[in-house]
Amino acid sequence: MIQRVLRRSSARDSQTGGDSDANTAVRLDGVTHSYGSAGGRLDADRDPTVIALRDVALTCDSGETVGLEGPSGSGKSTILHAIAGLLVPTAGSVEILGTDITRLSDHERTRLRRRHVGIVFQRFHLLPSLSARANVALPLVQAGVPRSTRRERATTLLSDVGLSGRATHLPSELSGGECQRVAIARALATDPDVIVADEPTGELDTETGSTVLELLTDVGSDRAVVVASHDDDTLAITDRVVTLRDGSVMSDGG
């Protein structure tokens, strides 16, 4: 039922560069990150420093789907945020398509994320007052894409994720699985090279979750997809599973 999702644009690769392997979309090297190092005015108020990641090394090639597993607090979400450029690690490098995003300014990082990274959240985070189509088109607003083009693209993406008949529905009129498929379509709106998904089936029942996973597998055929999950069914669709514990990589490819 689910059709093949839009192809990547070939011109995009020329926008980034570097000396990484041509097929490696994501590369983390020696990444360490700590939270809470900046304390309050008084010693008693100072948060203890929490090491979220310790010397993490990780790669994900285009067309590969990598799973991140581990208990809560093991660093899965922090890795996803680092890949998306939502945080800059305390130490180490994070390369997206050969560009070390830790060396970029906040503005440059946002621009790179907008062009090359799509994010799928556990709780969908759709704007409740906008239709499914308008939610999918939102990332294109920032790029200044004209309205008619935005609509056309959002309609195509919704059709690709099997929701052609739901374009004008509000999130409140959609099931959880349909909302997550809208969120995936939204993540694909700017045709990104890398998709990060944080517990994409965490809010869904098994049957609905499998539909979403099928879609993610399809999406990952020509993109780098990094999925964080506790769920065995979700991890089963990945090409490789990286196990984390206390911020360190315990195994890679298990």
Binding site: S77, H81, A84, L86, L87, T110, R111, R113, R114, R115, G118, I119, F121, R123, H125, L126, L127, P128, S129, L130, A134, L138, P139, L140, V141, Q142, A143, G144, V145, P146, R147, T149, R150, L170, R186, A187, T190
Partner: protein, 410 residues
């Protein structure tokens, strides 16, 4: 294909804001009403202020008085009704003899008791003037003129003309009309001894002073009050010749009579308004409260909406939307609310002003109490846009604060 286009972004932001407003009609209506009421309070109180000043100006203009001489009130609480000018007729005559003045006359004010039954006398303010004029716009009957004989051989300590003009409401309450006689006196004890003929009814001085006021010859009022000897008055008003400079005449007279305040009619309006600080402060407070109330309600409403959408805002920020675009979607809603509420307030102003004018005319006899010059509408519109902008800036700024990764985990 994809490139920055601020106009496209702005249109999209407006579209998203409109969608948000449309999806929550109850919330939108409440916010519009809050702004509308704030604007309405400003336009209505502004209309009232314009009406009061207008009435004062009309009164002064109709009286045709260019210069006003008054004494400093001995006791501030008694206001301008204190008859602190002594020898008023003599001063008026001296001022009249100036080459740049066409005429001058004293005006006195005093509380009197009047009625048809000696046991049921009513206390009311009275104004003593030499004669009535066309500005009185008599509802019934006519006016009076103090005959020259009243001034010959020294003014009498007893009323001589014995004519009075009543406020229509007072005349109606007493059941009298022109031609009837009533008792008038400075006290309840002396009033039954003095009979005056009602010659007409007019609300001229009532509108001018703000309460139901009677008018009678000044010499008679002085006789009733027992101030004939000292010849006390509240004001002396004067007209200047057509080619005279009012400010120069004012300065000349002020030099000549340093113990009194000398003002032009424009200054007199300001001075009378300044003598009612509590009324002015109450009006200003009401306007202030309405503005602050409307602002706080609307800002709070949208701040709450923004807070509820903090995870969505943070998610959209994570997807690459800029802080300004996200703040714009919230801020544009505030601006739209401000403008719509403002238009509602302005549209509601004329019918409510008409209704209040009708009410004031039928209840207290003041016609056209509220005036609505264009400046009143302009002030309302400026407030609406200003309020909308404040709401937009504050809630937009709040939205910007929520576009952080921490809120993704909420």
């Amino acid at each position: 294909m994809i490139r920055a286009r601020p106009l496209v972004r702005a249109r999209a932001v407006a579209g998203i804001a409109l969608a948000q407003l449309r999806r929550s009609p109850g919330r939108t209506l409440l916010a519009i009403l809050a702004v509308g009421i704030a604007v309405l309070s400003v336009t209505l109180l502004g209309s009232l202020g314009a009406g009061v000043v207008g009435a004062g100006e009309e009164g002064l203009d109709t009286a045709g008085r260019d210069i006003w001489i008054s004494g400093d009130p001995v006791d501030a609480s008694t206001g301008p009704a204190e008859n602190s000018i002594v020898g008023s007729h003599e001063i008026a005559n001296e001022v009249s003899e100036r080459g740049d003045v066409t005429g001058a006359s004293p005006i006195g004010m005093h509380e009197v008791y009047l009625g048809t039954d000696p046991d049921e006398l009513e206390r009311t303010p009275a104004v003593g003037v030499q004669r009535t004029h066309e500005g009185f716009d008599f509802q019934e009957g006519g006016g009076f003129r103090t005959p020259e004989e009243a001034f010959e051989g020294g003014r009498s300590t007893d009323p001589t003309t014995e004519e009075i003009v009543l406020d229509p409401a007072v005349a109606s309450e007493l059941g009298v009309s022109p031609g009837d006689t009533i008792y008038v006196g400075a006290s309840q004890e002396t009033a039954p001894g003095e009979e005056f003929t009602v010659v007409g009814t007019s609300s001229y001085y009532s509108q001018f002073l703000g309460s139901e006021t009677a008018a009678l010859p000044l010499v008679d009022l002085q006789a009733l009050a027992g101030t004939t000897g000292t010849d006390r008055a509240t004001f002396i008003t004067a007209n200047v010749t057509a080619d005279a400079d009012r400010d120069a005449v004012r300065d000349d007279i002020a030099t000549e009579y340093p113990e009194y305040d000398v003002r032009t009619s424009d200054e007199q309006i300001g001075a009378m308004a300044a003598e009612r600080p509590i009324v002015m402060a109450s009006g200003a407070t009401l306007v202030g409260l309405a503005i602050v109330g409307g602002t706080v309600l609307t800002v709070n409403l949208f701040a709450l909406v923004t807070y509820h959408q903090r995870t969505e805002l943070a998610a959209l920020r994570a997807l690459g939307l800029s802080r300004w675009v996200l703040a714009g979607t919230i801020g544009a809603q505030g601006l739209a609310i401000g403008v719509l509420g403002g238009l509602l307030g302005l549209a509601a102003t004329p019918p409510i002003v008409a209704g209040l004018n009708h009410l004031s005319a039928s209840v207290v006899g003041f016609e056209n109490l509220l005036h609505t010059p264009p400046a009143v509408y302009a002030a309302g519109l400026v407030l609406a846009i200003g309020l909308g902008t404040v709401v937009a800036v504050v809630t937009g700024w709040r939205a910007g604060r929520y576009t952080r990764i921490e809120h993704l985990d909420d």
